[in-house]
Symmetry: none
Amino acid sequence: MTLEARNPDNTNRVLMQIRRMIDSGDLPEHPRLPNERELSTRLGAGRRAVRNALEALEAEGLIWRRQGKGTFLGLPPDPAGALVAEIVPASDPLSVMEARLYLEPGLAELCARRATGEDVERLRALADRVAASGDADSRELWDGALHRLIARIADNRLLLTAFSLMDEVRMNEKWQRDRQRARSAEKLALYARQHRKIIEAIEARDGPGARQAMTDHLNELSGNLRASMAEDDG
Amino acid sequence: MTLEARNPDNTNRVLMQIRRMIDSGDLPEHPRLPNERELSTRLGAGRRAVRNALEALEAEGLIWRRQGKGTFLGLPPDPAGALVAEIVPASDPLSVMEARLYLEPGLAELCARRATGEDVERLRALADRVAASGDADSRELWDGALHRLIARIADNRLLLTAFSLMDEVRMNEKWQRDRQRARSAEKLALYARQHRKIIEAIEARDGPGARQAMTDHLNELSGNLRASMAEDDG
DNA sequence: GGTTGAACCAATACTGAAATGGTTCAGTAC
DNA sequence: GTACTGAACCATTTCAGTATTGGTTCAACC
């Protein structure tokens, strides 16, 4: 045998193909990528080439992998998440939004103090994915990853756990997730601008600016949530 | 057949027998009791009688039961405790103080918005207790109660859970509790003034003022902590 | 150097049987 | 009616065995 064994730049070819898969977002089981063996056969490359490509994507913070589990889009879950889920209190959408308003601006401020250049690159990559996402599911995925990365970069274990607490509740309350979805292209463009502004302040090490930008962003989300709830009541 | 079906006070007899088992402590797998069916046959009673006895013991807090799991001596495991246990080794006094600085000012602001006249009275009573305490232990106790009440009045379950988490971690960091103790009468007087200022802002429904007053207070505590740590290093 | 294919390792998920507390019901004895 | 027994069934959890998946190593090929 010894079919084709040479494809000098297969790693890069596969990398770009997987990048396209991520961009288009058409995955059989959405947040999860096909396993390495299947990617290998489907893309006509060795498993080594596939793994090289995945390693690059993981370094960029676009995917995460776990032995025995699989490869997934976004950021890895907080290790304390399982424990956190045990104590999440029941909350209504408005109080969850209130908690976000009181937690995340502070996290953005700390993030601005502590982010490295590499961190900023990752934040940008995630913000780009939010903007490039065609469907609401992908947007939600990447938006969640962006906010979580800010919380992680803030680098305070207790505050990160508090964030996870809030995030768990938010994820569990599926009934109201639709409400937080942008209803128009204008809103989407606004969110993209707000994300950019937050990241720019972080890059400039402007803590108060990052805090303010995050506050503005969440106030916008909060307003939309209230409007959507009032709409249903009326 | 229909052997003995009457044992008019079987529940009580079984209850006492199980009590003896617990007292003597000779259980095959120690913290765990034999399952209900086995107890039933071994003690010559119906399962109903055994369950009645176990219900009484559970109400007393001597045992706890979980479907599919078993019956065990002592109190049920506390999920929050497990979370705290995981966070404590990964956190140092400064990061806990940082979390306080990012959580409590917001709680004070919410508190100012939501406190009733009765709430303010209770806050004042606690602040008086702090000021009147003669020893460091009781000061710590009442000071903790004051800050916790502010968090409760803020009336957001998520933020309250986050605060409780932080509070428990703080309590668990025994190695550094001495450091946070005021070292002089001047400091004590300053803390008393700061507490008063926080409560006055809350009473005046001045959210930003309460936030600022709490920030000032925590910054003072933070400065003392740093000074005490630098002292030990030098 | 990079690539391929194959095998093996280690962590995780999955499946099905068994164990366990929770519940209901008919029957029995007082 | 009240209390107890026995049996059946339900819901949750555990456990053991299997399959899946990423992680690693190796020989061979260009």
